[in-house]
Amino acid sequence: MTIAADHRTDIPAEAAKNSRRRLPATERGTLGISVATFSVLAALWLVATKYHWVSSLFFPSPDEVVRQFVDVATFGYADGSLLDHVLSSLGRLFAALLIGVGLGIPVGLAMGINRWARGVFSVPIDLYWGLPPLAYLPLLIIWLGIGETSKIVLLTLSTFAPICFSAQAGVRSVPPERVNAALSLGANRAQIFTSIILPSALPEILTGLRIAIGAGLSTLVAAELIAARSGIGYMIMSAANFLAIDVVFVGLIVIAVLAFTFAFLMRLLERRLVPWKGKL
């Protein structure tokens, strides 16, 4: 047999093609451009506040914000340290995500596989998913009180739907030939589910999780602005009531950092769990 010829003709040709190919503009990195843009914006901020183009009452200078950040981090604000606020916000978000994932994935998978599950669950989900979460927050507060329960239920509702939908879409995106191949290798129904459908749906589920984190974070802060005794949203609202603009800025920066960290962790998780995504 001269099968070895296959390696020689196949692989180097492919590799050479890849290395010689110039990356199209959309695939080249934008890090340099982004850093430059950020620097310009920061400089603009510094200059605008230093020369009083804007009133410091409405727009604090960067050094003021940094000073205030250290201050809030050490001495706290609105009945709690910065860490307390962050932890109570994160606690609500993680509790909701845990329930949202724990319910959303099995329900979504069931909806993808079973006609009855799809028919039954899609009705209540479609009914509430179109509503802005804050519209039914007052209702939840009346039913469940002003404590943690109403906020966690609100967040759970806003994280459940995207995870559930993505799990369902994940099941439907499984290539039928992949299932057929497994069947002709002798797989039974349970094996098809665990070895084919679940891993095939995983990339979609992770996309859903990313969307759920985004939805959860924005609902969280909004809910804390309205009804809470702790949390980053509560801190921002308290500061705004006293026109402490620099503290509002500190809150916003903390939220931005949280959002950025979540996005980064999700990318890490995707690279670790679904390195094959989009490859085959």
Binding site: E177, N180, S184, G186, P275, W276
Partner: protein, 264 residues
């Protein structure tokens, strides 16, 4: 022995008419034969393969494998698809061992069998690579090894080399011929290439579209020579090869092929 008796598959088309994808097809695939179904796209050859595999129920007729009627997919029929269906999250050896895993074979044992098969398709050093790092031809070899791992009674191949470049395709044909010569496994092979059909088939059935039926059957024995020499050139210039090729070409391109329903 795989026996197809009076197999028909009909389904409603979008415009309300009935599509006769397969029309009263009868065919035997005896042990240690390579039966090749040859025809243009839409002639029902894939429908026939999907019915043998158990993916598609027959409207009429029956298919039996060693006397047992085929009703659903099963591990006794290995399938190699045109588009490879390897699992991207599993490396090459786990893909090959997948069928054995389904059977509950312990890991060390199934890896041992998988390694043997990888040696057979000359991919030993790629055992731990994910499939997306392999070329199309190599992925298809993994697919063949995977289908062979459970030692099926018959191998069903649906245009397995159709998506490969011509050099790789020739290497793959060679590999298949030598695999067959060694294992004498019965194979049902689908192609739209007359040359491929003649080089690999011990029996070639020509199919015509709408309704999908067999319009001619030919016997050939070039595959043994091909397996021995690994050289396609002398076979292609063999007068018997040329004669058969031209006969089939005439048949396929003749406008009134439907009249040849009974041609042997």
């Amino acid at each position: 022995m795989l026996q197809i008796r009076n197999a028909s598959v009909r389904f409603p088309a979008a415009d309300g008419s009935t599509v006769h994808a397969l029309d009263h097809v009868s065919l035997d695939i005896p042990p240690s034969s390579i039966v090749v179904a040859l025809g243009a796209s839409g002639c029902g050859k894939s429908t026939l393969l999907n019915s043998i595999a158990g993916f598609l129920p027959l409207t009429e007729g029956s298919i039996t494998l060693d006397g047992v009627e085929i009703k659903q997919p099963g591990g006794d029929r290995g399938v190699v698809f045109q588009k490879d269906t390897l699992l991207p999250w599993a490396n090459v050896i786990d893909n090959v061992a997948l069928g054995l895993k389904y059977q509950g074979v312990p890991k060390s044992e199934r890896y041992e069998s998988a390694r043997k098969l990888l040696r057979l398709v000359d991919l030993t050093e790629f055992a731990d690579k994910p499939p997306y790092e392999l070329s199309g031809g190599m992925r298809q070899r993994v697919g063949i090894a995977r289908a062979l791992a459970t030692d099926p009674k018959i191998l069903l191949m649906d245009e397995p080399f159709g998506a490969l470049d011509s050099l790789t395709r020739e290497t793959m044909q060679q590999l298949l011929a030598s695999l067959w010569a060694r294992t004498e496994k019965q194979i049902f092979f689908i192609t739209h290439s007359i040359e491929e059909a003649l080089i690999l088939g011990t029996e070639i059935v020509v199919m015509s579209p709408r309704p999908g039926r067999i319009i001619a059957r030919y016997s050939a024995d070039f595959v043994r020579q091909f397996a021995e020499t690994g050289d396609i050139g002398p076979i292609m210039s063999d007068p018997r090869f040329i004669e058969l090729r031209e006969a089939i070409r005439d048949l396929i391109h003749r406008p009134d092929t439907r009249g040849f329903g009974g041609l042997q």
